[in-house]
């Protein structure tokens, strides 16, 4: 009995400790991550002064919700950080729920804007009228930032692998199954290719990255990739993993593997990437600059103020030093009839991220700015939002 009493006291003590510690915890939470110690904060303020000067808050205030594409989430995190630092009292909350869920949330008026890796279809635009967008407005696609899609591979001893659209399509559709296949050898005469089976990995979840990669395959190798571009992987065979992080982890783990993901995942995990033979004078390695070059060829196909792009020219580019596998991600907002309470914040935030300072601030994260001509159009569109 005595023993039991002891146990009880101990349990009570632990409980009391837990309650006390959680109360202490509740008292000292902080949203302030600007610097860990106060002495360095003037320096930090000085360094961000350049970008801060380009941020015009223009009455931005309160909380703004946005959701959608995971491909632009990393850029958003950076933009939100800089914007909130410049405009006090503003909270911008962007969640990478996926483009489809983001558009659905936007259509039901739950978020001020949605991020999407593909332009909205006409049916989706219709669903924004009268719900998210009042006063006869409708949802429009605003291209915002581009990112190259890297083809990562894991092949010990092979560092400068060169592939072209045709071999990529054949690898990802299971027609080429060995790394020492003649088609690969022809492109890599100097490399010592092992006789390993090729293990391709694709996204198991619906994804804008898959949509853009398959759009590239369909545009650049129509004879070998016969499926329509799709957010869901269409070809049979191969293995799948969830999310770009999942794919990168698999490529890192499995010898003989090949997969596609945003450039930042390859850089972060130091995964070797394929150089693409586009028909230009030399194979092109993946980089933001090379991808930016390819997007210069893209055309606007949306009717103003909608700025939906056609990337077919980028996918099939033969320009020297232009990397063809790219993704351009959009923000979707109303041209007219945005919610009045969030309109100033929305406009000022979008203005900042489409500005040159905003566009360049995320280049180290694997994104590239829009071509100058397009950027001007985007900024005009944003300033006309009402």
């Amino acid at each position: 009995m005595k023993l039991q009493r002891n146990g009880r006291t101990k349990a009570l003590a632990i409980g009391a400790l837990a309650v006390v510690s959680s109360l202490t915890l509740a008292a000292c939470g902080s949203d302030n991550n600007s610097s860990s110690n106060s002495s360095s904060s003037p320096a930090a303020a000085g360094s961000s002064a350049a970008s801060a000067s380009s941020i015009a808050c223009n009455g931005a205030t309160g909380q703004l919700l946005a959701a959608g594409s995971t491909a632009q989430q990393n850029a958003m995190t950076q933009w939100v950080k800089d914007f909130q630092a410049a405009c006090s009292g503003v909270t911008i909350n962007y969640q990478g729920t996926g483009s489809g869920a983001g558009i659905t949330s936007f259509q039901t008026g739950k978020v001020a804007f949605a991020g999407s890796d593909a332009a909205m279809k006409a049916a989706d635009v219709a669903k924004t009228q009268g719900t998210a967008c009042q006063n006869g407005g409708k949802g429009i696609n605003i291209p915002m930032i581009g990112g190259p899609i890297a083809i990562g591979y894991n092949l010990p001893g092979v560092t400068n692998l060169v592939l072209d659209a045709k071999t990529l399509a054949q690898i990802f559709t299971g027609k080429i199954t060995k790394w020492d296949d003649p088609a690969i050898k022809a492109l890599n005469s100097s490399a010592n290719l092992p006789s390993l089976p090729i293990q391709t990995f694709h996204r198991s979840d619906g994804s804008g990255t898959t949509a853009n990669f398959t759009a590239y395959l369909a545009a650049a190798a129509p004879a070998d990739y016969t499926f329509a571009p799709n957010k869901l992987w269409q070809a049979k065979g191969g293995q799948a993993a969830a999310g770009s992080a999942g794919l990168a982890a698999q490529v890192k783990q499995v010898q003989g593997s090949i997969s596609y993901f945003e450039l930042s995942y390859a850089t972060q995990q130091s995964i070797s990437t394929v150089q693409v033979n586009t028909g230009a004078s030399a194979p092109v390695a993946v980089s933001t600059a090379a991808a930016s070059k390819a997007v210069g060829d893209a055309k606007v196909v949306g009717t103003a103020p909608d700025l939906a792009l056609d990337l077919k020219a980028a996918y099939t580019t033969k320009t020297d030093g232009a990397y063809p596998i790219v993704l351009v991600t959009y923000e979707i907002a109303c041209d007219k009839g945005n919610a009045a309470s969030t309109l100033p914040t929305l406009k000022s935030f979008l203005t900042y991220i489409s500005s040159t300072a905003g566009q360049n601030s995320v280049s180290s994260l694997g994104y590239f700015p829009l071509p100058a001509a397009l950027q001007t159009q985007v900024q005009q569109t944003i300033s006309s939002l009402s």
């Binding site: 995971t70 729920t97 996926g98 483009s99 489809g100 869920a101 558009i103 659905t104 049916a123 989706d124 089976p197 293990q199 990995f201 198991s204 979840d205 619906g206 994804s207 804008g208 329509a228 799709n230 957010k231 869901l232 269409q234 049979k236 293995q239 799948a240 993993a241 969830a242 999942g246 982890a249 698999q250 783990q253 499995v254």
Partner: protein, 348 residues
């Protein structure tokens, strides 16, 4: 040598001479009681009975609402389906003629859950018995806590652990199973050497995830076995195992099945861990070592983000199927329990 089992009458045999169900008839009894003369008893009874039956009805209402919601959305999706909802394996809700069916995902769900149950139930019962009847008393409680700790690990962590740690370690097990048990068809590998991100590995992860649930509930039940039953068995010369088989297991049978059903429910509906570990594809593949197949919950989770309109409704239709699978499985389990006489303190 069979005498101990014969004489230590299993509790289930006591059922025929049923004592009057006191619990059911107590309100009448209560009328003559002393406490009732004050009047508070009956009013308290009424309120309490109302509250408890109200809770039950609330639960039914929630279930009805969920079922109605699932059905309405599912019907709109199925009417837009260009494939046969029951026999199509593919899941193409983003393509132009929308084609989807549950053949592959329902099979995958059941296969992974079966693997999980086959592994988890015996191990869980073993652990529960270990804690209740084998472990030294002083450490038994601590051990129980250790197992509960497994329940504290969130499914994402299990998923990441499965993908990053277990999958590489399953390579050898897979190769071995394929080599020596490949003839069983189930353990045959079409492409040996691929990553074991298969329904089998998913089953193993699910088994680990549902272990604590089954263990914790059966442990509590084993601890409640009347000591008199156990001592009677031992006094008749039964070994500890014979005592457990004749006194403990029959007493806990309904509870064990309930505990397993709780575990099964979780195994069928697990999302994130499956999505992280499995390499899904929409084909029916009963070679469970191959990286193929998919489950309903995983399909919903991995496609929800990019689905809109009919695509979303199609996922809800898949959810309805999962609902129906659970309904059928539980109905079956219930029939098994009902056929064997139930033993419980409130009933005997």
């Amino acid at each position: 040598m069979e005498t101990p089992r014969e004489t230590s009458a299993p509790p289930s045999d006591r059922e025929p001479h049923k004592t009057p169900n006191l619990a059911g008839s107590s309100p009448r009894r209560g009328r003559s009681s002393l406490a009732d003369s004050s009047g508070t008893g009956r009013r308290g009874d009424a309120i309490f009975k109302f509250a408890s039956s109200g809770s039950g009805i609330l639960l039914l209402v929630i279930m009805a609402a969920i079922a109605a919601f699932l059905t309405v959305r599912a019907i709109s999706a199925i009417s837009a389906d260009h494939g046969n909802f029951l026999t199509t394996s593919d899941w193409q809700t983003q393509a132009d003629p929308i084609t989807f069916g549950i053949a592959a995902i329902a099979t995958g769900t059941i296969v992974s859950a079966v693997v999980a149950m086959v592994i988890a139930v015996p191990v869980a019962l073993g652990i529960a018995l270990f804690i209740s009847h084998y472990a030294p008393r002083r450490i038994a409680q601590a051990l129980g806590y250790v197992v509960d700790l497994l329940a504290a690990v969130p499914s994402i962590v299990f998923g990441l652990w499965g993908a990053l740690f277990l999958v590489p370690h399953m390579l050898g097990v897979n190769a071995w199973l394929n080599q020596y048990f490949g003839w069983t068809y189930v353990f045959h590998q079409n492409e040996p050497g691929t990553q074991p991100r298969s329904l089998f590995t998913v089953g193993v992860v699910l088994a680990i995830m549902i272990l604590p649930i089954i263990t914790a509930v059966s442990r509590e039940i084993f601890l409640q076995v009347p000591r008199a039953h156990e001592e009677a068995a031992l006094a008749l010369g039964a070994t500890r195992w014979e005592m457990i088989r004749t006194a403990v297991i029959p007493f806990g049978r309904s509870g064990i099945i309930s505990a397993s059903m709780l575990g099964l429910g979780r195994a069928l509906g697990e999302t994130m861990a499956v999505a992280t570990v499995l390499s899904p594809s929409y084909v029916i593949n009963l070679h469970i070592l191959d990286p193929a197949g998919s489950t309903i919950a995983q399909t919903i989770a991995s496609q929800f983000g990019e689905s809109q309109g009919t695509g979303r409704d199609a996922l809800i239709a898949a959810g309805l199927v999962l609902f129906v699978i659970t309904l059928v499985v539980n109905g079956g389990a219930r029939m098994i329990i009902a056929r064997r006489k139930e033993y419980s303190g409130a009933d005997a």
